[in-house]
Structure formats: structure tokens, C-alpha cells
């Protein structure tokens, strides 16, 4: 039974990363209509940013949680201003190809300097150790990742669904021309939204660094599963991405316990089933 709980915990942790990353993808797709294949590379940059902060400036994990999303978010905004904005109105395929190219370049540069093996990043002292819950042993850091990710996801959902800024974002997703004609600077909002989505990826990268080490291809390994999560949840759906991210992490964990051979494919099997039954995703709306 302990093994089942352990797999459930692993599933929840993976689900946290899926949720954070797919949330960023959903925000970006909803607003910019871009399938951001660079998301995995930007997640990796978040982890590397934490690593550089520690090794070059001595700023530890807590600082990294704040600084890395800002730094990588600014990098994302520069990308949007210089490259992605030219794709407005074009087919999704162009955005996908461009961001895929960006991902390859960014990963290639990091791989060139740091190789493919992982760089260690220590768990902060405050989050070391574990708790015996009676039915299982819970490492504190892993519990923190789940709780913190959930808080960030809910805060992002609240921002988009329940605030005036979120109303601007949702309206601009539907009809950017009209929203701009109301006096809202939509191009600036698009840049900031891309920065927000990228910042979420970088935050996930920082959270991941102490668990998975810091590797140039850490995002490439994850991004395909995350895209499956977004497709299942419904492209552009914020709550769909959060719920699906956590749920698929748990399903993956349970599959590892009950039928380990299928654990790497279960997400994709579900994706196929969802696409067959509801092509817009579980919570997506038809265009």
C-alpha cells in the first residue's frame, strides 16, 4: 500500500509541473493563438536561472522563485516583441514552427555549454527532511511543490477569471480589434501575457530544479506530455489545464503502480480518446 501512496505522491508532483506548464501554454494560446513549443526550453531556462543565481551571486532558492520568472519572463517578452508578433493572423503552424526552432536553438546553446548531464541544485534548508504521515513518508519539499503549484494555479485562474485585467484578457482573446478600439493597448497586453505564461514556465523550472536537477533537455522531455495535457483539457481553457494537469499526473502515478508498462503512454491514450469523443477538449469550447 505504501508503494501506491508513493506513486500517488509522484503523480501529484508531476501533475504540479504539468498544471503549471499547461496553464502557461493555455494562457499564451488563449491570448496569442500561438502553440508555444518553446515552453519546455523556457522552463529549462527557469531552472538554469536558479542555478546561475546560486552559483554566481549566492542568491538561493527563495530569491530564485521571484527572480527567475521575472528574468525569463522578460526574455519571453523580448521574443514576443521581436519574433512572435510578426505571426499575428497567420496559421498556427507558423507559430509552432517558429517556437520549435527557438526551443532547439536555446536548448542547443545550453547543451553546448553544459552538456547533457544534470547540474545539482540543493533543496533549501527550510524544506529538507520529511514527515511520517502514518500511511506514508512525505518529503517536505515534494509536499511544498504540490501546495505551492496549486496556490499559483488558483491565483492565475483568479487573475484571469475574476479581475478586470482578466476581463480584458478574455475579451481580447475573442475580439482584440474591438478591445483596442475601447482604448486598451492590446499589443502591450499581449506582450505582458506572453511574459506571464513564460514566467509560469520558469517558476515550474525553479520548483523542479531540486527534484530533477538542472539539465538542458529537461523541458524537451516534459513538453510533449504537457501538450497532451493541454489538448485533453481544452486549448486555451485555464481551469481545464489546471484540473487536467493534476488529474493526469495522478492517473500516470496510478498506472505506474497498477500497470507500469503503460505509464509512459497512458496520457497519450487518453488524449486520443478525448480527441475522438470531444475534439475541443474536456473543458474547451468550439471556436
Amino acid at each position: 500500500m505504501q508503494a501506491l501512496y508513493a506513486q500517488l505522491l509522484v503523480g501529484l508532483i508531476n501533475g504540479s509541473f504539468y498544471a503549471l506548464l499547461s496553464l502557461g501554454l493555455a494562457v499564451i494560446f488563449g491570448m496569442l493563438n500561438i502553440i508555444n513549443f518553446a515552453h519546455g526550453a523556457l522552463y529549462m531556462m527557469g531552472a538554469f536561472c536558479a542555478y546561475f543565481l546560486l552559483s554566481l551571486t549566492g542568491l538561493g532558492y527563495w530569491w530564485a522563485l521571484i527572480v527567475a520568472p521575472i528574468v525569463v519572463g522578460i526574455f519571453g517578452m523580448v521574443l514576443e516583441r521581436t519574433l512572435l508578433k510578426w505571426l499575428t493572423g497567420l496559421d498556427h503552424l507558423y507559430g509552432l514552427l517558429l517556437t520549435f526552432g527557438i526551443a532547439l536553438i536555446v536548448q542547443g546553446v545550453f547543451q553546448n555549454y553544459f552538456g547533457s548531464s544534470g547540474l545539482p541544485y540543493a533543496i533549501p534548508d527550510e524544506l529538507k527532511g520529511g514527515m511520517n504521515l502514518g500511511f506514508m513518508f512525505l518529503p517536505v519539499y515534494r509536499g511544498w511543490v504540490v501546495v505551492f503549484s496549486l496556490i499559483v494555479c488558483i491565483a492565475t485562474w483568479f487573475l484571469i477569471e475574476k479581475t478586470q485585467l482578466g476581463a480584458y484578457l478574455r475579451a481580447a482573446t475573442e475580439n482584440p480589434t474591438l478591445v483596442r478600439a475601447f482604448g486598451i493597448n492590446v499589443p502591450r497586453m499581449i506582450t505582458l501575457t506572453y511574459g506571464l505564461g513564460v514566467g509560469l514556465a520558469a517558476l515550474a523550472g525553479v520548483l523542479s530544479a531540486p527534484i530533477n536537477q538542472v539539465r538542458p533537455l529537461m523541458g524537451a522531455d516534459l513538453i510533449i506530455v504537457v501538450f497532451a495535457v493541454v489538448v485533453i483539457g481544452g486549448m486555451g481553457s485555464i481551469m481545464g489545464s489546471i484540473i487536467t494537469g493534476f488529474a493526469l499526473g495522478v492517473i500516470e502515478g496510478l498506472t505506474k503502480y497498477f500497470y507500469p508498462e503503460a505509464s509512459n503512454t497512458v496520457v497519450f491514450v487518453l488524449m486520443v480518446l478525448v480527441l475522438l469523443v470531444k475534439p475541443t477538449g474536456l473543458t474547451g469550447r468550439a471556436a
Binding site: 482573446t173 478600439a181 475601447f182 482604448g183 493597448n185
Partner: protein, 245 residues
């Protein structure tokens, strides 16, 4: 350059909008071929014309949401032909589109509060509910779940909040029941009394004749005629020919 026809007579009053030799394109399609007209403070001016004449394109060009345009558009003596639409809106121009532009992902309250305040003096929510009582009862409903008339009221209401005092209304009566059209007519008359300047695009000539001070006739991307409401009876035959009614 062709000047705007007779309706320009009132141009000695404070001119809010002056459009000169306006040309506009959708991609390769040349839609406007040198539009000339003006709107003075406190007036209701209507652009009349058949489908595809260029009325909506004229409004969109003034609002800055047509990509390619040339000529001159002066708003309160500032040239805005190269100005982005968000800046034009912040100068006090409000646009109510033909398709109403109600956002499905927003409820009525969010739709109403969406356009930011651009100037002091916009209507308060209480004043808006006084004009459109139906909206108050539907605040929590999804915007696109309202009836056509209610959606039109919402589309007009939300731009009244912003403080903009130059309103551009694109076919506000299209597809609405007579009783709702009458209500919108009364609203426009009230807004005019409150000092709003209104540029209206209409195909419904009978409705326009009850609210407008002046008319311009648009055909094939040009203004081909114009007259004041007081000259309406004398121009009736011409009008029927222009509009095919």
C-alpha cells in the same frame, strides 16, 4: 478633391470631426474613394447608403481599425489618420460596432465595465440603468445570452460609461423589433440633449429621420449628397432613388 456636399453648411459651429479625401482598403480591395464630411459638436449626423456603400468602413477608418487608409481625419483639430485605435478611443471617440461586439466569455456586468474610462463625465451605472432598466436585471447573465435588443442596449451602454463624448453607432437598429427601435431612438435623442455628438450609420431611413440633424449619402465609397433634416421633404425623391426604397 471633392468637397462634402450641401450638408457642410453647419460647419461654422465647433467642428468635432472633419474627414477629407479619405480612402481605405481591405487588402487589395479599394473601398473608400475620397470621403469628405464633417460633424459638429452636439449634432447627430447620419451616413445613409445601401449595403456595401462604405458606411461601416468609414466609421472603422475614423476609429483606426482599418489597416490601410489615406487622406485626413481630424478629431477636435488633431490629425488622427496615423493614430492607433486605442489612442483614438482615449481621445474621446467611442465606437459601437454593427455586430454589437458583446463578449461571450464575459457576463453583462463585465461587458458593461470593460471599456476603461477615458475622460471625466461618463454616465454612472445608475444613470445607465435609468436609460436601460433591462440591463440591471441581467447583470449576471452571459453577454451573448441577452436578446438582440438587450445586446444592442448593452453595446451602447458600455461606451456611455467611458466619458467619450463623440459616439459612432453602426446600424444600432439592425434586426430589432419596432418597439426596441423606438427605445433606441429615444435614447439617442436623450444623449443628444445631454450634449453627446453622434455619428450614426443607418440603412433604416425612417429611423434616421427621427434622430438626425443632417444626412450624408454614401455610394461606392464616396459621399454623393448631403442635406439637413429641415431639407428632408424637398429631397425625398432623390433619397428614394439613392437608397432604392
Amino acid at each position: 478633391m471633392a468637397r462634402a456636399p450641401a450638408a457642410n453648411a453647419a460647419s461654422s459651429a465647433a467642428e468635432v470631426l472633419s474627414v477629407q479625401n479619405l480612402e481605405a482598403w481591405y487588402g487589395e480591395s479599394h473601398i473608400l474613394h475620397g470621403i469628405n464630411f464633417n460633424v459638429n459638436a452636439g449634432e447627430v449626423v447620419t451616413l445613409l447608403g445601401r449595403n456595401g456603400a462604405g458606411k461601416t468602413t468609414t466609421l472603422k477608418s475614423v476609429m483606426g481599425i482599418i489597416g490601410k487608409r489615406s487622406g485626413s481625419i481630424r478629431f477636435n483639430n488633431s490629425e488622427i489618420i496615423r493614430t492607433s485605435s486605442d489612442r483614438i478611443a482615449r481621445m474621446g471617440v467611442a465606437f459601437c460596432p454593427e455586430e454589437r461586439g458583446i463578449f461571450a466569455s464575459l457576463d453583462v456586468r463585465e461587458n458593461l465595465l470593460l471599456p476603461p474610462t477615458v475622460k471625466q463625465g461618463g454616465l454612472s451605472l445608475e444613470q445607465i440603468f435609468d436609460l436601460f432598466p433591462n440591463l440591471k436585471e441581467r447583470l449576471k447573465s452571459q453577454g451573448t445570452k441577452l436578446s438582440g435588443g438587450e445586446q444592442q442596449m448593452l453595446a451602447i451602454a458600455r461606451i456611455l460609461r467611458t466619458g467619450a463624448n463623440f459616439l459612432m453607432l453602426d446600424e444600432p437598429t439592425e434586426g430589432l423589433a419596432p418597439v426596441i427601435i423606438q427605445q433606441i431612438g429615444e435614447t439617442i435623442a436623450r444623449l443628444k440633449k445631454q450634449g453627446f455628438t453622434i455619428l450614426l450609420v443607418e440603412q433604416n431611413f425612417r429611423f434616421a429621420s427621427t434622430v438626425a440633424d443632417r444626412f450624408y449619402i454614401v455610394e461606392h465609397g464616396r459621399i454623393i449628397d448631403g442635406f439637413a433634416n429641415s431639407e428632408l421633404q424637398a429631397n425625398m425623391d432623390k433619397l428614394h432613388t439613392y437608397l432604392g426604397v
